[in-house]
Each structure stands twice: as structure tokens, then as C-alpha cells.
């Protein structure tokens, strides 16, 4: 696994990422960085406001899907991307994320959706790992 905590996997029609983290919070942050890299997100150097996002989901896998979906929506609806993501997870179902918004310049490739396909957050000796499939 590369240092960024994510790697792209082969997938015939869509995109897939293997993501890892020492804990769920790190896994979610790495998944966010992986998704932004897959989509080829280009941002300006300007600094935007710091934001806080709170989410509650059904379970850890849903939390991962919901979190990435929130970021996709911000890209599409508000034309912003994210830097300096910090994340706190409590009870495996709730998160509070803080990040700096930065103006979006362009996206090379669109992501339609974050899917549950074969999504399973698995414990390993190094922490947690998951595979996320994106519909593109």
C-alpha cells in the first residue's frame, strides 16, 4: 500500500480504491484523499473558510459512504475542495470533520456515486482496510 493510505485497483467499468488506516478516522481521511486524486481534482492556492461537518450513519461502512458522498456534493454544488482534513469518529457511527475549503478549479473525471459494492471494513494487524467502488 502506498504511503498515502490508498491505492487504485483494477475494475472493468468503474473505479475501485483499497484504503487503509490505523483507525476508522484515518481510514476515512485517506479514502477522501484517494477519491479526490482519482477524480483529478485541481484546486487554487487560495485559502477558503474552515468548515465543520457532522454525520451520523447506520454503521461504519455507511459512515464511509456518507462521508465521501458529502464531499462529492460539495465539489458539484459549491465548487469547493478540501485541505487539512481532520476527523473525529465516535462509536463507529458518528463523525465530526473539520477541513479548510479551497476553490475548485477543475475535475478531470466525474464520480457519479460511492457504492456499497463488496464494502466491508476489515480489521488487520496494521489497523483497518476497506475497498470502495465508485460508479463513474
Amino acid at each position: 500500500m502506498p504511503a498515502g493510505g490508498f491505492e487504485e485497483l483494477e475494475h472493468t467499468a468503474d473505479w475501485a480504491l483499497r484504503v487503509r488506516g490505523r483507525d476508522l478516522a484515518e481510514l476515512l481521511v485517506n479514502a477522501a484523499h484517494g477519491m479526490l486524486e482519482l477524480a483529478g481534482v485541481q484546486t487554487s492556492s487560495g485559502a477558503g473558510p474552515e468548515r465543520t461537518l457532522e454525520l451520523t450513519s447506520h454503521d461504519p461502512e455507511s459512515l464511509l459512504v456518507d462521508w465521501l458522498h458529502e464531499l462529492l456534493l460539495a465539489l458539484e454544488l459549491r465548487s469547493v475542495a478540501f485541505k487539512h482534513i481532520r476527523l473525529e469518529v465516535t462509536g463507529d457511527r458518528d463523525l465530526i470533520a473539520t477541513f479548510q475549503e479551497v476553490p475548485l478549479i477543475s475535475i478531470a473525471k466525474p464520480i457519479k456515486a460511492v457504492t456499497y459494492n463488496e464494502l466491508d471494513i476489515v480489521e488487520t494487524p496494521q489497523g483497518l482496510t476497506a475497498t470502495v467502488v465508485f460508479d463513474v
Binding site: E8, H11, T12, A108, K112, V114, Y116, N117
Partner: protein, 488 residues
């Protein structure tokens, strides 16, 4: 991902030269067999990824009847394979949003013209540029139509009829659209505010990915009577539009895949993949999803109708006065990601079912009442776009498709190479140069995106069509060859 062994050729029983079956004994939990239409080569292709594994998983959906059908253009998707058809019995069988897909009513529209290639050849670059300029494309692109929430809700209910009321359509366009361009039962109350927010600026846009506008020339005619009824003449130009319900549909599917996660547990439904999550058709959740899906389907019908309007304007700009007749006439508009309530024969019984088609096209045979008068004796047109730079096909539905595949046929070429591999092996700028050397005008917003859609990443569409024709689930009418491709 699962390390379970993939389906192998020896797991199949060959039922006929182009039909293969995985019996329910293959894995515990299968409720019906899986049947694949393929020749030897396409069967080998299907074994290369997890598409058949996904079809086996789909065969575990509650309430299935008959068999899960897999088309020869199958490839791995997410949860349900692209190129899959599954029918669940009403009222207690399930509906699965993931088995319909995020791009609800992604589909294809074909328009014909009386313009010969010779007449237009000198203006083809202008035509490609006009289409690229007038058909908004790219990631998150916004269109020229700004919908209020109230107007968006009208689009949800009325589909292509909204486009007709607002000057973007001709009456015959709607008659020559699946379901007349309007699915009944749409309820905007079943759609989230977020979906509406995403849908408001995107009506009349192409998007990106594998969506395209393509100018073709009618290259071969196999059924001159049917081609004539459709207005397709050898050597004349035609235009295809491939797009769907944009962010609106993506959000509807996302919302319901999320909402169904706890619902499935409530209904004690256990599935091998959470993306197949589902709810009974007669449950409150199932009914709400059907009503929301109809909204997204109607949005997509309106979207392709407005794209057709943009295309007509582009033809007028580029060819007006340069050719005798620059009008575009609707051939047909079909969905290939949809759940439809239909009646089919299952054994000796007529059964009302919800047919999930994901990357598969409805292909009803001759006599179907939903077709316009001039098409009813022929069967429903089936539009099969090939990969970029390769042929596309116009087919007709048959009685054989009604008997073998719940009135369904293939939808395209089907991928065979991963996007990652395509990016590694193909450069977008080189591909564009190669296609232009072959006389195909290319207008594209993203070179990496172009590379991912390279023809070598797809199966041979001619081979796919040969299988559906020889298996009797569609009939050849005409083959189209591209001369200009517009992509986001």
C-alpha cells in the same frame, strides 16, 4: 474484496449454441438460474472479471421468477452486472435500486436525416464544433435552462411532455420514445431536496464519462422495410445521444440505497452484497422508490429530448443552406437502466413482474401496444451504440426476446479492459489523432477521459450483435459508422 473463486466455464450447462446456464445448484442461496447469451469468445471475456459472480449474487434477490438473464455485452459493475436483467414477481417480490443503477434511465436516442455523407462531408468539422458548443458537456456542467423547484417537479411528473410544452420537442418525438417519454406514478414528494438541488441546473446537459453525442452514417441496411419505416437510408447521416438523469438520478439512487440498508434488515432480507439492497415492491419503501425512480426516468427523457433540440439547432447552424434538408427525425429513444412493471410469460403463467434492466434494453416484439402504429408490426427498436470509433447498431425486438429474456436485449459493446489499464495503455491525444486520421471528428473535454473510453477497452460490438441476432432476441436492421464524436 471477496476471495471466493470466480465462475468457470465448467460451471455452465450449454442450453443452445448461444445460451449458457449456471444452475441453482452452483451456490447455496440462488433462487433462479443465471442464463448468459454468448458465443465461446464472449463467454471467455465474461469469465475474466466478476460480472458472472455478480449475476449469481443477483439470483439471490427475493421474489425472482424465471432466470437472471445476462447479455453478451456483460461486464462487471457494482453489485449487479452491467448487462443484467432480473424479474421479480408482484406484489411481494423486491425492487433493488442498485440493480437499476445510479444513472436512472440512462439511455440512447437516435435521430435520422436525409443528409448524405457526401453533402455534409465538407461541413463535418463545423457540425462537430456546433454540437460541442451547443450540447453542454463535462463534469458537473450546468445547462441553459434554470428550473425553479416547481418546474423541476413538473419535469418529474411529465418527462418529455414538459419538453414538448416548452418548445423543445415535436409530437412525433414523444410517440417514438419508450413509454411516450413519461413514466406514470412519479411523485416528486418521494425525491429528496438534495436531488432536486442537483437536478435544477443540469437539465439539457450531456455530462461526462461514457456519455456522448455522435454523428453516424448509415453504413449497412439488413432490413430495408424496417429501415425505411425508421427513416434510415443507406449513406445518410444519423445522430445518437447517450445520456441519462444526471446528478438528479444519481442522488435518487444514492438516497434509496442508503434508506434501504436498514429496511432490508427489517424485512429479513439477506444478500451477499449490500449494493443489492432491496425492499418488497408492496412495502412503503419499495413504493416510494418506484415513485422516485419514475421522477428520475422522466427527468432523463426530458434531458435527452432537450439534447435533441440542441442537436437540431447545431445541424441548422452548420448545415443550414449547405444541404437541401437539414432536419433530424426521431427514430426512437430507449432506456437501458430502468425498473419496469410488465407482464411476461413464466412457464404457463402470465405474471406481473418488475423487470430490472441494468445495461440492458427493452426489446419487445411485434404487436406491442406501446409502440406507434408504424412500428407495431415491426417490434420495438433497440439501439446499440458501439465503443467510440466503432460501429453502432439498430435492431428490433422479437418474439424470441419475449420468450427468452423478459423482452430484453443488449445495450452496447461492453467493457473488457479496466479504466486503469486503458489509461496505462492509451493516450487520449494519440487516440484522438488516430480517430481523426480515420475520418472521425473528435471533440472532447478530457483527454484522460477519452483514453478510458478507447475502442480497445471494449468488446467487439459486431460480435455482441451477432450473438443476440443468432440467439433470436433481436433482429438486425442497420449498422451505423461514426463520423463525429462529442464527449464531455
Amino acid at each position: 474484496m471477496s476471495e471466493r473463486r470466480l465462475v468457470r466455464k465448467e460451471d455452465f450447462k450449454q442450453l443452445s449454441p448461444f445460451l449458457w446456464e449456471i444452475p441453482t445448484t452452483y451456490r447455496s442461496g440462488m433462487r433462479v438460474p443465471v442464463r448468459l447469451f454468448a458465443d465461446d469468445r464472449l463467454l471467455e471475456d465474461a469469465l475474466d472479471d466478476k460480472s458472472l459472480e455478480q449475476a449469481v449474487n443477483a439470483s439471490m434477490l427475493p421474489g425472482l421468477v424465471g432466470h437472471v438473464t445476462v447479455m453478451p455485452d456483460v461486464h462487471q459493475g457494482y453489485g449487479f452486472p452491467i448487462g443484467g436483467v432480473a424479474a421479480t414477481r408482484l406484489p411481494h417480490g423486491v425492487i433493488s435500486p442498485g440493480a437499476i443503477g445510479y444513472d436512472i434511465n440512462c439511455g440512447v436516442r437516435l435521430l435520422a436525416s436525409r443528409i448524405t455523407l457526401e453533402e455534409a462531408e465538407a461541413s463535418m468539422a463545423d457540425l462537430a464544433s456546433a454540437l460541442y458548443r451547443n450540447c453542454p458537456s463535462g463534469v458537473g456542467v450546468k445547462g441553459s435552462i434554470k428550473l425553479s423547484t416547481k418546474e423541476l417537479e413538473r419535469v418529474c411528473r411529465e418527462g418529455a411532455e414538459w419538453a414538448l410544452d416548452n418548445g423543445y420537442a415535436q409530437e412525433i418525438d414523444l410517440a417514438r420514445t419508450e413509454e411516450g417519454g413519461r413514466i406514470l406514478g412519479a411523485d416528486p414528494e418521494a425525491v429528496s431536496d438534495r436531488a432536486k438541488q442537483r437536478g435544477q441546473p443540469q437539465l439539457g446537459t450531456l455530462g461526462a464519462g461514457n456519455h456522448f453525442v455522435e454523428v453516424d452514417v448509415v453504413d449497412q441496411v439488413f432490413d430495408s422495410g424496417a429501415a425505411s419505416a425508421m427513416g434510415l437510408a443507406l449513406g445518410t447521416l444519423a445522430l445518437q445521444i447517450h445520456c441519462g438523469s444526471r446528478g438528479f438520478g444519481h442522488q435518487v439512487c444514492t438516497d434509496y440505497v442508503r434508506e434501504f440498508q436498514p429496511a432490508a434488515a427489517r424485512y429479513k432480507i439477506q444478500l451477499p452484497d449490500r449494493e443489492l439492497v432491496c425492499a418488497p415492491l408492496d412495502s412503503p419503501e419499495g413504493k416510494r422508490y418506484l415513485a422516485a425512480m419514475a421522477c428520475a426516468a422522466n427527468y432523463a427523457f426530458a434531458n435527452r429530448q432537450i439534447m435533441a433540440h440542441h442537436a437540431r439547432r447545431s445541424f441548422e447552424e452548420a448545415l443550414g443552406g449547405r444541404v437541401p434538408d437539414w432536419e433530424l427525425h426521431q427514430v426512437y429513444d430507449i432506456a437501458h437502466n430502468m425498473g419496469k412493471i410488465e407482464e411476461h410469460a413464466v412457464g404457463d403463467e402470465r405474471v406481473r413482474v418488475c423487470v430490472h434492466r441494468k445495461g440492458a434494453t427493452r426489446a419487445f416484439g411485434p404487436g406491442f401496444e406501446g409502440l406507434p402504429d408504424d412500428y407495431r408490426p415491426l417490434g420495438q427498436p433497440v439501439l446499440v451504440p458501439g465503443s467510440m470509433g466503432t460501429a453502432s447498431w439498430v435492431l428490433l425486438g422479437t418474439e424470441g426476446s419475449m420468450q427468452q429474456s423478459f423482452g430484453s436485449s443488449c445495450h452496447g459493446a461492453g467493457r473488457t479492459m479496466s479504466r486503469k489499464q486503458a489509461k496505462r495503455t492509451v493516450r487520449g491525444d494519440q487516440l484522438r489523432a488516430e480517430l481523426e486520421r480515420r475520418g472521425i471528428q473528435i471533440r472532447a473535454g478530457s483527454m484522460p477521459g477519452l483514453a478510458e473510453e478507447a475502442p480497445q477497452a471494449y468488446k467487439d460490438v459486431d460480435a455482441v450483435v451477432e450473438v443476440v441476432a443468432r440467439a433470436g432476441i433481436a433482429k438486425k436492421v442497420a449498422r451505423l459508422r461514426p463520423v463525429a464524436v462529442i464527449k464531455g
